[in-house]
Symmetry: C2
């Protein structure tokens, strides 16, 4: 069974390590018990929405980015390809600067 | 405070209505109490990872897609733009089929 909390835990730990923070630092800033944060990172406890918000704040990362990383990891496991939207600026630049090569 | 469960609830309800299912149908398939599913959809209860998995199965939607929709909604609220990755196939097709117009 694909458990979202495991991917959330992995993403939170990865972001924390990327930022060079210790569990203690993030737990302190988020006002979460260190042992609880550790269990969340290991995918053993569900983080409530309130706690997720506090941890995102403590990591200085938008919650949307955390959930996007979670979604990307789940998609890789589910072997699902979610079509990206192509930004409008790119389409404008594409059509104005390039043209098909005629065969 | 930005609460992930509210966005999850909205996404689940939207997907259910898109598929033309009633609360009763999805609750039955997911083996979740109807009142509990209703509270999840209204963002009043956190769904555990196990229940989220069951609901995703009942809706026949990958969990990654649900979390992607949640992330997109959060990004709109946070006013965050998450860069899309351009699929490799597109890059290959781009470089092999088109070339810059010379000025």
């Amino acid at each position: 069974m694909l458990l979202v909390r495991r991917e959330i835990g992995d993403v939170l730990r990865e972001l924390r390590l990327q930022k060079g923070h210790t569990l203690r630092q993030v737990a302190g800033r988020a006002s979460v018990a260190l042992g609880y944060l550790s269990e969340i990172e290991r995918g053993q406890k569900e983080a409530s929405s309130e706690i997720l918000y506090s941890i995102a704040e403590a990591l200085d990362v938008p919650i949307s980015q955390i959930m996007r990383d979670v979604s990307d990891r789940l998609a890789a496991i589910e072997n699902v390809s979610i079509p990206d939207t192509v930004p409008a600026e790119f389409l404008i630049s594409y059509t104005s600067q390039v043209q098909p090569v005629s065969n």
